[in-house]
């Protein structure tokens, strides 16, 4: 005889199972050796903000930077770098490709500033999160005697981010990582709304951080 609480537990387990995220990571390395970084040299993780319709999430950039900690690499925070090199990494002026970066570094003042900050690598993150396929509905009412939410809704969240690593010593691209993460979240209204959220962003952040770290710590092949 199955008891009511067992059915409830099973239902919760099924829902929580549905809240996981599926993450796919692809990478490209021009060679098999790990990237060299000397003592005192720094890495900056930057978000692309020049597209009109989206901006790479600052929190996501911060999250990837946090995941990179614990190695012998100093991470210069994005905001500190952008301020230090102002105004050459603003949305209007940030180099979109290596040819533009080369031209930028031909300016003695900019080159001197980069050397002063000891920045060796730039990692550009470009991408966003999208919500798709929202179904169901929920209505909430509030009255003098109380209120509550009733209904059910679910949606799919997709995060796609590309990371590109630039080496500032020889102005070359040292690798690319593409992360796609997706998961379904639910909101169940039984008087109080109960959110069951899929950890899509944190899964993408962990995956990307781990992969990025491997560029500096592991040889491949």
């Amino acid at each position: 005889m199955i008891k009511v609480h067992q059915v409830l537990l099973l239902a919760i387990a099924v829902y929580l199972g549905g809240c996981t995220a599926t993450t796919t990571i692809d990478e490209f390395r021009p060679n098999t050796e790990r990237l060299e970084i000397l003592d005192g040299e720094k890495l900056v993780i930057l978000g692309r903000r020049d597209a009109g319709h989206y901006e790479t999430d600052r929190d996501f950039v911060g999250c990837v930077a946090k995941k990179m900690r614990g190695m012998n690499i100093e991470i210069l925070p994005e905001e500190a770098f952008i301020d230090a090199i102002y105004p050459w990494f603003e949305p209007r002026t940030a180099p979109k490709g290596l040819p533009r970066l080369k031209r930028l570094l031909e300016e003695p003042a900019i080159r001197a500033k980069i050397s002063e900050e000891r920045v060796r690598y730039l990692v550009w993150l470009d991408g966003t999160a999208e919500t798709q396929g929202q179904i169901g509905s929920m209505s909430c009412t509030v009255g003098p005697t109380g209120g509550g939410c009733f209904g059910y809704t679910q949606w799919e969240k997709i995060v796609f981010i590309e990371a590109i690593i630039w080496d500032l010593t020889d102005l070359t691209e040292k690798g690319r990582i593409r992360v796609d993460s997706e998961g379904t979240s639910f909101l169940i209204g039984i008087v109080a709304p109960i959110p069951l959220l899929s950890p899509v962003k944190s899964s993408a952040c962990s995956g990307l951080g781990k992969q990025l770290k491997s560029f500096f710590t592991e040889d491949v092949g």
Partner: protein, 203 residues
């Protein structure tokens, strides 16, 4: 009796909330900007920030006012110090010293604000349209340069209206600095003025 009291409290609360939705919002952008990374050119310029510019409060619509006066003075002072080796900052045209080779008088033409309720986008956007009157010390006009700048919030989630407008205005001011550094010496009349100055120094 308690139910009547509760009803009154709920109604009062709703009225307050609705009142808050329609209130006029005033923000002050109180921001210190970073120094610019640039090699300034060997010229002396006078930058005229009149009282109106120093205390400028934009009113992009009937429901919002944005005080950008002190921030825009800070930003433009730093940006022009990155463009020219000697920058003299004065409050009126008649205070310009004898060393100045160029006089620049900035003014704000217009500030526009777009909120999620206007655009149905999940962002706040601010446009600041500057005008730079560029003259010789004798008052001969060189150019009147229109310089638009744009800023937006990444999204409006978790942001109050005032912090979103402040954030978008700060981004717009930073963009003005970027635009100035990128394009000022590309203004044809400024470029030819500099060439003439160099030629006269050679002679």
């Amino acid at each position: 009796m308690p139910i009547r009291l509760l009803r009154t409290a709920v109604l009062l609360n709703l009225l307050l909330m609705l009142g808050a939705c329609s209130s006029v919002i005033s923000v002050k952008v109180d921001q210190q900007f970073p120094n610019v990374v640039s090699e300034p050119k060997d010229f002396s310029v006078a930058l005229v920030f009149d009282q109106e510019f120093r205390t400028y409060v934009a009113k992009p619509n009937a429901k919002a006012s944005i005080d950008i006066g002190s921030s825009q003075v800070d930003l433009l002072s730093r940006a022009f110090r990155g463009l020219f080796q000697r920058v003299e900052i004065v409050s009126s045209r008649d205070q310009v010293g004898p060393e100045a080779q160029l006089v620049i008088i900035p003014s704000v033409r217009e500030v526009q604000l777009s909120t999620p309720s206007d655009s149905y986008l999940n962002v706040y956007e601010v446009w600041i349209k500057y005008n730079l009157d560029i003259e010789t010390p004798d008052g001969e006009p060189i150019d009147s340069w229109f310089m638009p700048a744009y800023g937006k919030t990444p999204d409006s989630m978790m942001l109050s209206r005032s912090s979103a407008i402040t954030s978008a205005s700060t981004v717009a001011l930073r963009d003005a600095g970027a635009k100035l550094l990128l394009d000022f010496f590309r203004i044809p009349s400024v470029y030819s003025w500099m060439e003439r100055q160099k030629e006269s120094e050679v002679q």
